[in-house]
């Protein structure tokens, strides 16, 4: 709904768009909420315009402004031979950094919003991410591998959500193999353990 209304931050939107590519159910839902937006727009009480509005548009049409070209589609971003969702096209992926021998992350820099907290996470099989809580919304899209957070098991294409109601959150990657995720948070995480907190500045989220 916030995606439909356009009220999500750029980072969260990116992760959600990545998810929408692989989830027809959520695409359907988004379309439904967009349709609700259209219906609500029809029902808004009309507000007065400043007078010359339509003349300005006609003047612009008459001035013969040509249609600008579409943005060229960028090549898909690849990580370890895996093509990332098209939503990440145009994003710069930073170098992999270790926070722990079994946990690496790389910053995802959005061309339009370089300060958004978006990262790729590569976590070894069986590893548990330090226990943490959230301020605001966190979205995690699984690109490969799988993890479980005690509430559900998330595999490739699944989107995990956590927010301030999730207090002690300790996602664990399944034993089968490494897990690659795309994650975005609205606000920095609250990491509960001292060790985790020491690592936090390294991760930028």
């Amino acid at each position: 709904m916030r995606r439909a209304a356009g009220n999500l931050s750029a980072g969260l939107r990116l992760v959600l768009d990545a998810h929408l590519e692989s989830c027809p159910h959520c695409r359907d839902r988004l379309r439904l909420f967009e349709a609700a937006g259209g219906a609500l727009l029809e029902q808004l009480p009309p507000a007065p315009l400043s007078g010359a509005s339509i003349e300005k548009i006609f003047a612009r049409i008459d001035s013969g402004a040509v249609a600008p070209g579409r943005r060229r589609p960028a090549a898909p971003v690849r990580v370890d031979g895996l093509a990332l969702p098209a939503a990440l096209c145009g994003c710069a992926i930073g170098p992999w950094r270790y926070v722990h021998p079994r946990l690496r992350w790389a910053k995802v820099k959005l061309p339009d919003a370089p300060h958004e907290r978006v990262i790729l996470l590569k976590i070894a099989a069986g590893f548990s991410v330090p226990e943490h809580g959230h301020c605001g919304l966190e979205l995690t899209q699984v690109l490969s591998g799988a993890f479980s957070d005690g509430r559900a098991l998330y595999g490739p294409g699944d989107l995990a959500e956590a927010d301030d109601e999730v207090k002690n959150h300790e996602p664990r990657v399944t034993a089968e193999g490494e897990c690659l995720c795309l994650a975005a948070v609205e606000h920095p995480l609250r990491i509960n353990s001292l060790i985790g907190r020491l690592f936090q500045p390294l991760m930028g989220i």
Binding site: M1, G6, E34, L41, A65, A67, G69
Partner: protein, 247 residues
Amino acid sequence: MSAAIIDLSRNGAVGTLDCDEPLKIMPALRRRGASFGRSPPAKAAAAPQEGEQVRVQTNNREDQTPTQEVLQDWLRAVAESQDREAFARLHGFFAPRLTAFLSRAGFSSAQVEDLVQETMFAVWRKAGLYHCELGGVSTWVFVIARNLRIDYLRRKANRETLPLENWDQIDDSPTGEDGVLAAERESKVRFALALLTPEQAQILQQAYFAEKPQSAIARELGVPLGTVKSRVRLALARLRKLLEEAP
């Protein structure tokens, strides 16, 4: 995807609960189907669709909603023959509503004017790209305005002065391909919205059209934050349920 994405309670997505403004949603819904200036095409005269329970034939008045078919007809005239009269009708209907939408989103009146103009200019230029399979005309216009708004805020955040011409870089397709369902979706949504209580409809409207932290709303209303959160949640849960159950 679980509830939180469509749940607005996380932060900042809900607008002012503007109590002294009477709710106009319900009457507007009841009036749906009113003809607007020009006669609707033959298609529009067919039996009412699901969700359009009451069809009242009234005279041309600015605050009434033309049917989807009439809107599509106007848009087609713009696309096929650059019909300025049809565009003026679209403008007459959408521009005041877009102005209301963007004013609620906290833009200054100059910014609102700019964005309304950009949106309507995009409607003129992109008219040929609209397919009724994608959804209703209003949905299409809503998506264009939403994307322009996102783009505008993005530029502001980056202190960029991207020429406004670049709006064309935004993808306006209302996300999706299976178009046969679009008409059904549009009527389902209207049916569901008509069943909400006035208070729920108002909360929902504000959730879409304004950005204000829920804490601010709570302060204005003098109610605890939790109350605002749960009201929003209830309204959304009700809408979801109605959408799922709608015929």
